[in-house]
Symmetry: C2
Subunit: 389 residues, 2 copies
């Protein structure tokens, strides 16, 4: 057989910065970054896209950005800041994607210029996708503003939009050139958004880092009470675990294994059933609870550990079940979630379960009867708790 | 400054196979490839998209593919083969892209299944883009059918479609999982398509490989007369030089340097001026002629070498000039091509010129007066040739 072998590696490097008040003129985190990457003989442009929720919570932000860039030489700030609706709407409405691409074209953002997104995970995913496909990739900077995006999706390498009502049907793997986590944005989050970002931290602790789980356990009530010191630690530790995971075996996920999707097969189904009215983080907490009990009923995980996990989720303020997933006459829409998850991964069904706090185990099938028993176990557990209160 | 450093490499490997009659049941090039990548517990699907021109020139091909896959176990061939118009139309008409993405969705092509494109460079670019963005990348196989796509674009890592009438405005860098060059497809090409693919071979020889240029020079008349043995050598040598180049410094082109774009700044402009009615390869030949003369007039390249290059282009059957680029009253639309090329690259203008056959040199500006003189020199040259005949 006659062939030529092609083989090469592409190196990706980026920093995830942690700061407060990124656009304070005295804060040189962003300006130093841009200065380091200046290129002789070119004027680099910067175009901002802003999550509407952030715009409303921080009415001075747009002006603050303009003031900040007055101090940065040789960078051309595009004065028109695009504002797009946040949440899943940003990924469902194709016209928003094209609004961003139109602006890239209209303002001549080239492969050496920057497209910056400020917002929650959905806005970052949509703008990141626009950046990845425009001119085969313009430089993309992420400024995540929620707990979830600062500790999870915003620091990673994926982007995407929904299509055919399917989550992330269109998207790419495209690392940003930098991520700037500004803790100040967390102060204006609703309690629901503050809380729901923490389920990914519980998840990554459970599959990778028992001592981080211990820390969350000890600090759960402070975290629930919006203690910023505790939250800063949680965000940074969780981001670090995510970065390590991505840099590990399979950054662009060519295999079927996705350990970080622990608790996600049922969470995805729940989000779809709720027409995305439920937060991703809330759905993940419910998914973690279910797969924790399943791990216990299949004798992988001790009951004591399972109960510790459920208590932590509750102390953080999460519900452990959702009416949409309930079994009735032995059936639940939940069960379809397994085959949909397989299709989503591609290839073989691969589900992460727990054998201990901090240690996961991958399986390639789940027993429907035991899924139902896990759901019923959780119902009894919740009932006992109610009685105790 | 507080930050976490992310750093990882992604390895890309693929083979470019050379064969004849790929879908002959006795030919196991493709079936062996698929068998090697089979995964226990999954049925991988294969969806074909076919260039209409190829479909018309090879009316038995669709049936041939079906017959071939009857011999391949555990692979599910999708019986509906999509047929799309070839040429730049494939990249200009957005509805064709969505037709491919619709089929990916309808047939449940997942990240472990295959989307195969058979056709010229434009169809490969469009289908490759659809593959790259569906589910963040389904496996993409390319079967180039023209000289140009077999020796150049089809073996590389880029895809894209035109948008806002701008060439490749949307696209990604996404290596295929394999390329199958089937020489038999070259037998049905028009003389124009046969010839126009050879200009990229001349180009890559001129900037990288003097001995390959010597070979083309010796075989120019045989190549023009459609000798298949000579063409096989040209395609394979040219593909090898392209693969080496991509695997070199900057596979995903983050810098401003693009040596392979020798002769391309004026070629891009000419294609746009002609509304893509001229073949890319024809435009590149004209671009090579212009930058060869410019290299000579700026004392980089000897006149003897410049004349050798022009003679080779002519012996291959290329015109050296085009009326659309003519200077009138000291001006030509050609001159706008320089700034457009800078925008296309992003960053600093970087143009490759020649200092010898086989050796290029990058410059960051070109002199408009000397561009005009180069154009006029070529006009006199063509005129002298006509008189001599």
């Amino acid at each position: 057989m006659e062939f030529l072998q092609q083989s090469f590696s592409v190196k990706f490097d980026y920093k995830v910065y942690f700061t407060t008040h990124l656009f304070d003129r005295a804060n040189d985190t962003l300006s130093s970054f841009l200065k380091e990457r200046m290129e002789e003989g070119t004027i680099q442009k910067v175009l901002f896209v802003l999550d509407q929720g952030v715009d409303e919570a921080h009415p001075g932000l747009k002006q603050g950005i303009q003031d900040y860039f007055e101090t940065v030489d040789n960078i051309h700030l595009i004065l028109e800041t695009l504002v797009v609706p946040g949440g899943e709407e940003a990924k469902n409405d194709e016209s928003l994607l094209y609004q961003v691409i139109d602006a890239v074209n209209a303002h001549g953002i080239d492969r050496h210029s920057y497209l910056v997104a400020i917002g929650g995970g959905a806005v970052l995913d949509m703008v990141g996708y626009a950046a990845a496909i425009s001119h085969r990739g313009v430089r993309h900077i992420r400024i995540p503003t929620t707990v979830l995006s600062q500790n999870d999706s915003g620091v990673g390498v994926k982007n995407g939009v929904n299509f055919y009502r399917k989550k992330n049907f269109l998207g790419t793997f495209a690392p940003p050139v930098a991520v700037f986590n500004d803790y100040h944005f967390l102060t204006t989050l609703s309690d629901l958004d503050w809380r729901s970002g923490m389920s990914e931290a519980v998840k990554v602790a459970l599959i990778k880092d028992a001592s981080f789980f211990d820390w969350i356990e000890h600090n759960a009530t402070m975290l629930a009470a919006r203690d910023m010191g505790a939250m800063k630690y949680l965000v940074k530790r969780c981001a670090a675990l995510h970065l390590d995971h991505i840099a590990g075996k399979d950054p662009f996920e060519t295999g079927s294994s996705r350990p970080l999707d622990f608790g996600h097969w049922s969470a995805h189904k729940l989000e779809a059933l709720a027409d995305f009215s439920i937060r991703h983080g809330e759905a993940v907490a419910i998914g973690i609870a279910l797969d924790t009990v399943y791990s216990m009923l299949t004798k992988r995980l001790s009951e004591a550990d399972a109960r510790r996990i459920l208590v932590v989720l509750q102390n953080l303020g999460f519900p452990l079940q959702h009416p949409l997933l309930k079994f009735e006459e032995g059936n639940s829409p939940l069960l379809d979630g397994l085959s949909e998850f397989r299709e989503h991964l591609g290839g073989k069904l691969t589900i992460m379960l727990l054998i201990a706090i901090g240690t996961g185990e991958e399986v390639h099938e789940m027993n429907e009867k035991l899924i139902r028993e896990s759901s019923e176990w959780l119902e009894r557990y919740a009932h006992e708790q109610t009685i105790r209160l």
